[in-house]
Symmetry: C2
Subunit: 141 residues, 2 copies
DNA sequence: AATTAACTTATAATGATTCTAAAGTAGAAG
DNA sequence: CTTCTACTTTAGAATCATTATAAGTTAATT
């Protein structure tokens, strides 16, 4: 419920405004991971509340959530930036044909060898994206 | 030398213009892999030739090379698109602090388990990016 | 050399993201 | 409960990367 989000915002130093709570509802009030772009999120908010929200507010709030570790930015080709409400370390299956983006569970993937790192450096993050396509592509003749 | 590039362009159906040959020299006349953004490439060309080149030409040519498999687009966070003259299947080490981007050789990395794919889909491409940072971050107390 | 399709160019258009400055609101203090 | 202040939201302008356009230029063919 609402209080849950308010606590979450407070502990991040964010004032629980009407807009932020509304965004929280959409992003975090769900079982499944949610992948979104800023403008899609904006459209959903406006449909849900039947009122306008400023684009800048959506950007600011999502970035605040990102900085506080509630959402994660995803690297994909293309012009728009995607975010993911699953901020744990995990990976993605991406279908460029349909635009579908699916989380890969940690137990479903295993990187068993990593390269030597430059002196004085350590791993900060590993991102694996597996792009998929229909079986019919490049079929054997 | 020059003829090498001209052949390479011809076999891709690209006319070997002055500008394209110049871009070829910068991209392919080197031992090491080269990672670049469009505007950095433009600056290098202008420095080398001491004359201007149109931004649109750089974009068009790099995209033509991409479509012909001479360069590869790299997914990284951030606003600018990076390209890589190593168009083989390979992966990257990325140091966000310095902006350094290094190729990982195929024998230095091993993905030993991949997730189940949706029905009728197959793997098209796998991209792994390992972000690194200085050892001094989050040091044990 | 003449012809033509491909190419380069400068500039305009677009689209995503960020900035700005003014008006609104949450929370603290009285 | 009112006042005050700092934080927020907002609309619109500004910016940045990229793509489109239309006019002039060039490579290759005759």
């Amino acid at each position: 419920m609402k209080n849950h989000f308010i606590d979450r915002l407070r502990t991040s130093g964010l004032r629980p405004t009407k807009q932020r709570v509304e965004i929280c509802k959409i992003l975090f009030d769900r079982k499944e991971t949610f992948h979104f772009t800023i403008d899609r999120l904006k459209k959903i908010i406006e449909k849900n509340t039947k009122s306008k929200i400023s684009l800048a507010t959506v950007y600011n709030t999502v970035h605040a959530f990102k900085n506080n570790g509630y959402v994660k930015e995803i690297s994909l080709h293309g012009n728009k930036t995607f975010f993911d409400t699953n901020s744990e370390n995990h990976h993605h299956l991406y279908d460029q044909e349909t635009g579908d983006l699916l989380d890969i569970r940690n137990e479903d993937i295993l990187l068993s060898k990593v390269p030597p790192l430059p002196k004085g450096k350590k791993i900060k993050k590993i991102e694996i994206t597996i792009s998929i396509e229909n079986n019919s592509h490049n079929q054997k003749k």
